[in-house]
Symmetry: C2
Subunit: 326 residues, 2 copies
Amino acid sequence: METKKSWAIGVDIGGTTIKCALISEHGDVKGVRRSPTEANLGREKMLNNIKNAINEVLVENELRLHDIEGIGFGTPGLIVDGVLEGNPNLPAWNGTPIAAEMKARFDVPCFVANDVTIATFAEFIYGAGKGAKNLVMFAVGTGIGGGLVINGQLFEGSNGMAGEIGHVTVVPDGRVCGCGQKGCLEAYSSTLAINAMTREYLTSMRGKSSKIYEAVGGDLSKVTPRIVYDCAKEGDEVGLAVNETVCTYLAVAIGGLINTLNPDTIILGGGVMEAGEIIIGNIKKKLPLYSHFMMRERCRLVPALLGENAGVTGCGALVFRNLGRI
Amino acid sequence: METKKSWAIGVDIGGTTIKCALISEHGDVKGVRRSPTEANLGREKMLNNIKNAINEVLVENELRLHDIEGIGFGTPGLIVDGVLEGNPNLPAWNGTPIAAEMKARFDVPCFVANDVTIATFAEFIYGAGKGAKNLVMFAVGTGIGGGLVINGQLFEGSNGMAGEIGHVTVVPDGRVCGCGQKGCLEAYSSTLAINAMTREYLTSMRGKSSKIYEAVGGDLSKVTPRIVYDCAKEGDEVGLAVNETVCTYLAVAIGGLINTLNPDTIILGGGVMEAGEIIIGNIKKKLPLYSHFMMRERCRLVPALLGENAGVTGCGALVFRNLGRI
């Protein structure tokens, strides 16, 4: 480390785990530390756990508070004008002005954004979106989140809530989504949707001819995207049928964004995308049905690069960007 | 006129008419002049007609070229990196670098953008979108075009093509669109779609109980959105059914944009929107099915204000904005 002043702290706050690390201006990640969120013990306990996590990263790396540039936080849920809202998995966390709370505890610059927004920013600065002018990232996991970079700047909308692409309607009056609405992208292409659709297929065919049924030993509660995609790659018909649905509606949503925003880059990340080419290749095949060729030909569709460190890396990048350093 | 140097020329190039006028920094419109485009006579003739139109506006207003700040052009089609492309109605016009061609003829600053982008900019600077930070305009006419303002700036995407919201898929594998794809918004909510759907209804019911059938004297080629909406307002069932479809898919598209961009303003303009509240009110009723309440509640849905002068006004505004005057 050339000078001590080259680090920020990134804090990725998940439903079960707080991940905390030192991040350099160049995206280096150092001293990753995981500790329990303990969201069930209430807001004060959570804030205290975050404070302790930050302090321990400082101690373990022999740094003092004045050695760091600032702290960036990423959290699930909508950040509405700086205050966390609408997070069904962390009810105790709703209403928390997290940057302000942490600034009061640490007195260094503190910044907060939605976790997918943060991961998008990390991919933009250090990963698959490097050099992009306009990009959209899809994080396809348990749910589906999105992030946008517009004209080279992280775009959060008029109230900090942009990027809820998991709840864009792809089938009017379609499958019921966890959000209570119908036909959302998340109801067709997320982990939860993949598991649910696979179970429906297996139940309707009594599971007799699917490798997936064998792979879970007949216990449908054990279905996961990994199992579904491993079987699809071996030619399993249920797996392939589920993938058709997953890719069709991702292509509808991606095509709509291409036509609307004329972006140069679309990044696909999140756990489901670990299946790789069987998804991305299929989406590329379907995109001509849902997008204008002149914009599609000028937009690259690429997998995310940063993997599980995208969160903390983006939290650090948020600090450096807000301080005008990158 | 206080000083002669306070005007730009706006040129709205349509498929049949060139509309040309003086525009002040404050959006005043003066000396509107219409002349034929004569697109069928080829590119050079069109460029010459545009040149003559500009010269005549100057002469009629006793101005010389050096009295104006610049000239702004709006045209249908995609402007790809400054060159007009993909305009099926003006084939002779494709491939024209219009701003460069006009700069060569007039030697004043020349700027060009898509006509809906231009109208959006006019509404943003002088009309229904005044003061907005992030807005999307839908121009619902023969086709459906769109324009975006992001972070207070006209947004044209990575190649100048953003805003093709008429071809966002709202029904996968749905009605065939004029663009050759299926299920585009334009196939459900444009003038062409309204006319086609109304004819289908009337044909399938043999037209016996619809006021629309009477209004066109049994000649289905005479169906227009005005007739359909006049009848719908009198309770005609066919008119109301068509409006349901028009509004449902506009709500799907608008809801998707609200969830994606978290804009503060959506503007609805274009000929179809002259029907007024029967459309906007119905869309507002449907939007909760297709958008997140926290973003929907923070986004106003308003009719366009500038009417038929939006085009030339926006062309002038484009000049003043590019010169850093507004």
